[in-house]
């Protein structure tokens, strides 16, 4: 046991700190946001690169090893400023549903996260030319309204203190009433938006899970209590709040754990201030799942005998329905049914 402790200690002391190295594309070097980000990391080593893909897309990288000491890559986005919203995601009744990806990867390390299957690396890429994405959005808004989820492939609010991207999106939404945005987060960083006036077309969407799930499967994320505190602060300022009970995970004592959790959430925050709620079970593209399982073969979460439908893996129909129905019933005791959106696997 002593030896094992010594080895664990050795492991900790040998890792470089997060963002110990920052790779910067030549084209991004003189960008104002690059300068702003670099000013936060004066002790990091800067390495100039030609393209972010030289670092991000190398062969044979270990996503899990890199999670112990993730690096930052600053790059310029040249195309694909918006992506069509995927069918496995809620559109909350909105047409023209898109998402943007100005940051790839997340500072958190959730065991069920699809990013583990999407990207070859767990290093974080920040596309500093956010103004090009915003300009692209403005051009489209001249033709039709848009509903954009701005924080899918990362947690934008968690990185707000170094990027300021969320603030820029809010500014855009302020000037364009036909733009609706969703800022999804697990962070407890609402204070970063404290100085903004709330807008009707901006939803701050918190993903919430029982503390047991957070501790076991959502590494590095804020506790449920901290997230709730942040939500309460946002509510007190008048922001539109969305709660996402998604993904629900198939775990032992599901009803006891999730039942207690839902009660705790709605007893802690004023339910009349919740705009809507989404409920969904764990679901993932078959191809992403293969990569995740290869990288994390001993994950109990991924060892469930999933069913595949149209290239998407999820729990068995009976389990999915039971989990969704249970949470739906619990939530509907607090929230009007028309405000609850469900998505099965």
């Amino acid at each position: 046991m002593k030896g094992r402790c010594a080895l664990a200690e050795l492991k900790t002391s040998l890792w470089n700190c997060n963002f110990s190295h920052i790779y910067v594309e030549k084209e991004a070097l003189n960008h104002e946001i690059t300068k702003k980000i670099l000013s936060h990391f004066k002790n990091s080593t800067f390495i100039e690169i030609n393209s972010y893909k030289e670092v991000f897309s190398r062969r044979c990288q270990s996503f899990s090893a890199q999670k112990n000491s993730p690096k930052l890559i600053l790059a310029v986005k040249k195309e694909n400023f918006l992506y069509k919203g995927a069918e496995v995601c809620h559109d909350f009744g909105n047409s023209n549903f898109y998402y943007s990806s100005s940051i790839m990867n997340c500072i958190y390390d959730c065991e069920y996260c699809y990013l583990r299957g999407v990207y070859p690396s767990s290093n974080i890429v920040i596309f500093v030319n956010i103004e090009d994405t915003l300009k692209n959005v403005e051009d489209i808004l001249k033709k039709h309204p848009l509903y954009i989820c701005i924080s899918y492939d990362s947690d934008l609010l968690a990185l707000e203190n170094i990027t300021g991207f969320t603030a820029m999106w809010i500014e855009l939404a302020k000037n364009n009433p036909n733009l609706k945005i969703e800022i999804r987060t697990k962070s407890a960083n609402f204070k970063a938006l404290g100085s903004f006036t709330p807008l009707n077309n901006v939803y701050i969407a918190w993903t919430l899970s029982p503390e047991e799930v957070i501790t076991r499967f959502e590494k590095n994320t804020p506790s449920l209590k901290c997230r709730i505190e942040s939500i309460k602060e946002a509510i007190s300022k008048g922001w539109k709040i969305r709660l996402c009970f998604d993904p629900l995970l198939y775990i032992d004592s599901f009803e006891r754990i999730y039942g207690k959790f839902i009660d705790y959430v709605f007893e802690s925050i004023p339910k009349e201030n919740i705009s809507d709620v989404s409920i969904g079970v764990f679901r993932i593209s078959k191809d992403y799942f293969k990569k995740m399982q290869k990288e994390y073969p001993s994950s109990l979460l991924l060892a469930y005998p999933f069913e595949c439908s149209n290239g998407v893996l999820s729990y068995r129909k009976k389990h999915s329905e039971d989990m969704i129905n249970f949470v739906y019933d619990k939530v509907s005791k607090y929230i009007e049914k028309e405000k609850i959106f469900t998505l099965e696997g």
Binding site: R58, Q61, S64, S69, P297, S298, L300, Y304, P305
Partner: protein
């Protein structure tokens, strides 16, 4: 396994002594020195020679993802470097001067060295050359590119010892060993520390369990795809339940006469292995 590549014997000799390596006399193509799980190969100078030697040794010893590769050697310093001769560098960027392609080792671990970029040339670099990197050598980019085929980028390291400032006059074999000697212990200690970190995921199934499942697949006349599926199901079952042999015990004596019969049996085993 720890693989070390060094271009010349005079550079390698201090490491061979420090690590108590013995020559593997059965190799005629390259000089290899070894002890337990350390293999050191003398590659010769130049990117092609060093990449060939590295490929040879990594293939010969069937390198796996948990192995470590370290390229060690002397280097020249460009005018961007203002550190003394003998300074040890861990390279964080490696440029191939021939095609300008760049490579990046993953800098996951703390280390006691300076960091710098390295540019590898196909000729001896002089002050007249246009140098992009902080350091120059003749092997780094070649070995890094070759090693990247076999190993993940956090398991590949390029350690360079500053020998000159693009003026190779007066450099002798004795001088090389003399410059390297003071840094040998710290480099070897570092390599040993890194080697202790085992990031390898232990296989879910033991060798015996895997053999048994493969045999079961053969007995059922499964196709390759079905045999792979059986292994995957068995792994997931073991992760969920903590064991697999007991679950498969009712099926161990199966001996199917036809593929059709095998398919039926496979269906029954699948049902068992998908139990929650």
């Amino acid at each position: 396994m720890i693989f070390i590549s060094i271009a010349m014997y005079c550079e390698a000799s201090p490491f061979i002594s420090e690590l108590h390596l013995k020559k593997d006399t059965y190799n005629s193509k390259f000089q290899i020195f070894e002890k337990d799980d350390i293999k050191l190969i003398i590659t010769g100078t130049g990117m092609i020679s060093s990449a060939s030697a590295l490929t040879y040794i990594l293939t010969k010893y069937n390198a796996s993802f948990s192995d470590i590769f370290v390229n060690i050697g002397i280097c020249g310093g460009s005018d961007k470097i203002s550190l003394p001769i003998g300074t040890v560098f861990l390279c964080n960027k490696i440029i191939n001067n021939d095609n300008k392609k760049s490579f990046y080792p993953d800098m996951l671990f703390k280390h006691p060295f300076k960091e710098a970029s390295l540019e590898s040339f196909s000729h001896v670099v002089t002050e007249k050359d246009n140098v992009q990197g902080d350091l120059v050598d003749m092997e780094g980019a070649g070995v890094f590119q070759a090693a990247s085929i076999f190993l993940p980028p956090h398991q590949i390291m390029c350690i360079k010892i500053l020998m000159d400032f693009l003026n190779t006059k007066g450099i002798t074999k004795e001088k090389v060993s003399e410059i390297i000697n003071p840094s040998v212990a710290v480099i070897c200690n570092y390599i040993n520390e890194i080697a202790k970190i085992n990031l390898r995921q232990e296989p879910i199934l033991s060798e015996d369990e895997e053999d048994l499942i493969l045999k079961l697949g053969n007995n059922m006349k499964l196709t390759n795809a079905m045999a792979v599926e059986l292994l995957k199901l068995a792994e997931a079952y073991k992760v969920r339940k903590g064991e697999i042999i007991e679950a498969l015990s009712p099926f161990l004596n199966i001996n199917c006469k036809s593929k059709y019969e095998g398919k039926m049996c496979f269906g029954r085993i699948k049902n068992k292995l998908m139990e929650l």
